[in-house]
């Protein structure tokens, strides 16, 4: 409807009232989601700080002391094991967030708490609900990744100190590339009959173990290495290594890692959005 159309006072007031929600709707949803996270805020903080502490201590003081053979090279020769592993651990930590925020939270919104239906009856549009969920999860991923990067810095686990400022964004990108397709999947479920536990067991864990997290991917035989190639975690880890200590990588490889992560994020976004719209406008 163009501005020149004559509309009734009721219609005019509706058009006015929808201005802000149309523009900022996703932020309002994120606001609500972040408020809801406060209920388990301690889990987030302890998980965000405690888990890197445990890994960095365990690997830095234990495993790395025990490994003699260098596993990877930087531009100036072999890098310490901790430096090699840490960017992948950070990416893993960011990728863990969607296994909660884009699974159980989504089922709760549609079914257990039904709050998405409340949002749906307000001026918010389904794609704004998706946007708000993504923003809130990004905030949590960023918190987790920043905490990780800070501790990495403290443990001397970054090759170049400034990398600690860039690594969190690599982590968030990895988290989104894994998370958004998962979000689309979760939104398509009417019920949780164990699918989320299955994702954890048969998708997340193998991805974590076979994405070149603890050793270079080319150590694996071809018939297992493909898991790494399609794994957002591997692409994010490799990018993280390039950022952290300048792992040798061609420009084309870097572009491929970035492109695949961006592609998975975009595809997940389109699918998630479509699934939400179909479900909420049926």
């Amino acid at each position: 409807m163009s501005a020149t159309d004559v509309v009734s006072p009721a219609a005019a007031s509706a058009i006015e009232a929808a201005r802000r929600p149309r523009r900022f709707g996703a932020l309002y949803v994120a606001e609500h989601q972040i408020r809801a996270m406060r209920a388990y805020g301690w889990t987030i903080v302890i998980g965000g700080v405690g888990s890197p502490l445990v890994y960095l201590l365990g690997i830095g003081l234990g495993l790395a002391a025990f490994l003699d053979a260098p596993v990877a090279d930087g531009p100036d020769g072999p890098v310490r094991y901790l430096v090699f592993v840490a960017p992948a651990l950070l990416a893993t930590a960011a990728t863990t967030v969607p296994t909660e925020e884009f699974t159980y939270t989504v089922m709760a919104g549609f079914k257990w708490r039904r709050i998405f239906w409340g949002m749906n009856a307000s001026p918010l549009a389904p794609h704004q609900i998706v946007g708000g969920l993504v923003l809130a999860a990004m905030a949590r991923m960023l918190f987790t990744a920043v905490a990780y990067a800070g501790l990495m810095l403290a443990f001397g686990a970054v090759g170049r100190p400034w990398a600690a400022a860039v690594l969190p964004f690599v982590g968030v990108l990895g988290g989104l590339a894994f998370g958004l397709p998962l979000l689309a999947f979760s939104a398509s479920l009417k019920d949780d009959a164990g699918q989320f536990a299955a994702v954890q067991r048969f998708v997340f864990t193998p991805m974590f173990l076979f994405s070149g997290t603890f050793y270079p991917l080319d150590t694996l035989p071809q018939w297992l290495a493909w898991i790494g190639w399609i794994s957002p975690l591997w692409h994010a880890s490799e990018l993280g290594r390039w950022v952290s200590y300048g792992a040798p990588m061609s420009g084309a490889t870097i572009a491929a890692h970035l492109g695949i992560l961006a592609g998975m994020t975009a595809a997940g976004w389109v699918l998630a959005r479509r699934t939400f719209v179909a479900r909420m406008r049926g």
Partner: protein
């Protein structure tokens, strides 16, 4: 005449092969209390969702506040208040926070939300519960909170889908009283119900819906006048004898309806019918003369009871 707040012609919704709403025409004027009365599965909620701009219509014309929900969903929803059939309060937030968070969806500044939340808690008689978790409220309180939440944007139209289903009589009366107040203030109410007393109490005008179609339309009194007699005599002869007794009294009153547990005789003068029944030598185990209600209208229109 003022522009209608809702106008629908041939409004239709299909779910696959199922026709949930089958071409209904409705028009609701500002300030009116309009009801959709119908049994389970009649298509009431589906109609409410299309009007509420959350369900895309399959066919027909629909304007809400003069706007088309297909193109102006957010605009329409910005000025509507919605009380859904199934509560969807955020059970993990406290009562007052539910109102504030919901107000934010409309882009209302936080301070304004807080002030409105307090006013609405007073209106819903929930001031004392402000800090309580939603889970700890009774069913009636939750319903009142849902209504309060629906008012947070100061809506032009309040849509209530079965506002009192599942509540005890006391809680229903408290709720009706609140809705009456809104009606007096001039809020347009659109409600669905399968309680005829609720429709009689709250609706200026209503449509009786069955199988997605409108069977009749009018004010409660008009509908009763048109489709029923002034009074009804309810006679119970015991399940096995109802049929045979009904044959004997055929011809009494305007019309007879035989239900599994009782026989209904529709007549202007119920007492006169009762006398005739006893003159015929029939002795029902119980008998009762009452005024006609929308239940009778429904029975007449569909051959079925409203509540199964």
């Amino acid at each position: 005449m003022p522009e209608p707040v809702i106008s629908a012609t041939g409004l239709t919704k299909h779910y696959g092969d199922l026709v949930a709403v089958d071409g209904i025409d409705i028009e609701v004027a500002p300030g009116e209390s309009f009801g959709l009365l119908g049994p389970n599965g009649a298509g009431k909620s589906t109609t409410m969702r299309m009007v509420g701009a959350v369900s895309t219509r399959t066919a027909g014309e629909l304007r809400v506040l003069g706007l088309d929900p297909d193109t102006h969903g957010p605009e329409i929803r910005a000025r509507l208040g919605v009380v859904p059939q199934e509560d969807n309060l955020d059970t993990e937030l406290r009562v007052r926070d539910n109102l504030i968070v919901y107000g934010r969806y409309f882009g209302i500044p936080r301070a304004v939300c807080a002030q409105r939340a307090d006013e609405l808690l007073t209106f819903a008689q929930l001031e004392e519960k402000a800090k309580v978790k939603v889970d700890d409220l009774s069913g009636g309180m939750k319903r009142r909170l849902t209504i309060a939440r629906a008012l947070v944007n100061d809506p032009l139209v309040l849509m209530l889908d079965e506002p009192t289903t599942g509540l005890d009589p006391q809680a229903r009366h408290v709720l009706w009283d609140r809705l009456f107040r809104l009606k007096e203030r001039g809020t347009t109410l659109v409600l669905t119900t399968h309680y005829m007393d609720e429709a009689e109490q709250l609706c200026d005008r209503l449509v009786v819906v069955d199988h997605g179609r409108i069977m009749a339309e009018g004010s409660p009194a008009e509908l009763i006048r048109q489709y029923s007699s002034r009074e009804v005599v309810e006679l119970r002869f015991g399940a096995s004898r109802n049929e045979s007794a009904a044959e004997q009294i055929a011809g009494l009153g305007d019309r007879i309806e035989i239900l599994p547990d009782r026989v209904l005789v529709y007549a202007a003068d119920g007492e006169a019918v009762l006398e005739q029944v006893s003159r015929l030598g029939l002795h029902p185990t119980t008998s009762l003369v009452r005024r006609s209600s929308l239940e009778d209208v429904f029975l007449r229109l569909t051959g079925r009871s409203l509540i199964e």
